[in-house]
């Protein structure tokens, strides 16, 4: 079940899932990733976006992205 597109996301990183009534908070990086996912961007494009947006090495960005995507999967959001 892909719940990503239903999520209500605000600029401060507060996310509400209307299916479950649950809410989450994410930091700037998490918000960046969520918004790119909602735009339908692929993993590689998001990784490149992280490198362009944040002052971070490719290894760290890749690891953080994978970690975060796994977290979203564990919540069954993607």
């Amino acid at each position: 079940m892909n719940r990503l597109h239903q999520l209500a996301v605000n600029d401060e990183g507060f996310i509400f899932d209307p299916l479950t009534g649950e809410s989450f908070t994410v930091n700037r990086t998490g918000l960046f990733i969520i918004n790119r996912l909602k735009e339908g961007k692929k993993e590689e494009e998001i990784l490149q976006g992280l490198l362009d947006e944040f002052n971070v090495s490719k290894e760290v960005a890749e690891r953080d992205l994978i970690d975060f995507l796994e977290k979203l999967k564990s919540y069954r959001i993607i």
Partner: protein, 346 residues
């Protein structure tokens, strides 16, 4: 048209009755310009004193007394103040109203309630059948009347297990000893039988809705309780949009031609895409004002339907709206209390 609408359950206490919320909803429909008649069972019920919501209050005999005394009290109210419609919201009074709804109608007091046949669907013994017919599931359960049956049921259902009264109270037991202790507690307070129910994983989500008796919805919303009191009563909640859950409620209305308000209590297991029906309440829940607050005035639609007034069609409601219950207080003179005690009305 100035309707006089009787509403019970105006005991806005720590285990609140649904009446005040229902009364607020009807008051908010300005086109009805309704006067609310509070039907209370105790002079201390706070609704008796809430003049801005309840226009006039009467003390009623308990519904467990003989039906003639009860109905005569309603006729007295109709004669002396006016009573066009009664919306009973308490479990204990529903059987009486269901049984005598036609008699009340003949005597000029309308109701909008399920039939006795429909009412039976809310029984714990019918839950499995109803759930199946509306396309969802129900946890396995056993009805127990003795210690021996209790032990056998625990063996069958496994631990942990829910120990529930037929109408009130539900505890989660992790050991047989705990199950026995909850069993005794429920029997002491509410009597037999006791229901043992399999524990299913998921989140509790509820729907408040009403059917028009012809298979159509008069409005519905789904919510999740975020914060509950020690008595298990909602104190904070949030509206949700779970199409499967809402569709189950729609099917319930369609298949059974349900008439009147109801609440579906469900456990939603998103990991396994399962919805379990836990309970059907054949009346408004205490938090029913939540739906009015998000633009779906179910109570006023019931009154509209009962009086052939145009019914409002509610197609949608916003998810992510919060319900906040809070305590408040106010001071009144002793006159209202005196009148209620001496005259049975204020």
């Amino acid at each position: 048209m100035e309707l006089k609408i009787g509403i019970s359950g105006i005991n806005a206490v720590d285990n609140p009755g649904p009446g005040v919320g229902v009364a607020k909803s009807i008051k908010e429909d300005r086109e009805l310009s309704a006067k609310i008649v509070g039907l209370s069972y105790d002079a201390m019920e706070p609704g008796n004193y809430m003049k801005w919501i309840i226009d006039k209050s009467y003390i009623l005999p308990y519904p467990s007394t003989d039906h003639k005394t009860y109905l005569n009290r309603l006729y007295y109210i109709r004669e002396n103040y006016g009573l066009d419609f009664v919306l009973p919201v308490l479990d204990a009074e529903l059987p009486l109203y269901l049984k005598y709804q036609k008699e009340l109608e003949k005597n000029g007091i309308k109701t909008f309630l399920p039939t006795l046949e429909q009412f039976k669907l809310r029984g714990k013994d019918k839950l499995e059948e109803v759930a199946k017919n509306i396309g969802i599931e129900t946890p396995k359960s056993e009805v127990v009347n003795s210690y021996d049956e209790l032990v056998k049921a625990v063996e069958k259902l496994g631990l942990p297990v829910m120990v529930k009264g037929v109408f009130y109270k539900a505890y989660r037991a992790y050991t047989v000893q705990e199950a026995v202790s909850f069993f005794n507690k429920i029997v002491a307070e509410w009597g037999y039988p006791v229901i043992l129910q399999q524990v299913v994983s998921g989140e509790e989500m509820n729907v408040v809705a009403a059917g028009d008796g012809e298979g159509n919805s008069l409005g519905m919303i789904a919510i999740k309780k975020m914060w509950i009191t020690e008595l298990g009563k909602i104190w904070t909640g949030i509206t949700i949009k779970n199409e499967e859950l809402l569709n189950s409620a729609k099917r319930f209305i369609e298949i059974y031609g349900w008439k009147g308000a109801f609440e579906l209590e469900c456990i939603v297991d998103l990991n396994n895409n399962k919805i379990y029906l836990i309970e059907i309440n054949p009346r408004f829940p205490a938090w029913s004002y939540f739906s009015t607050g998000v633009g779906v005035n179910i109570a006023s639609n019931i009154v509209r339907k009962a009086f052939d007034l145009p019914v409002k069609e509610y197609r949608d409601y916003p998810a992510g709206k919060l319900y906040i219950r809070y305590t408040d207080d106010f001071v009144v003179g002793i006159e209202t209390f005196q009148k209620l005690i001496t005259l049975g009305e204020n």
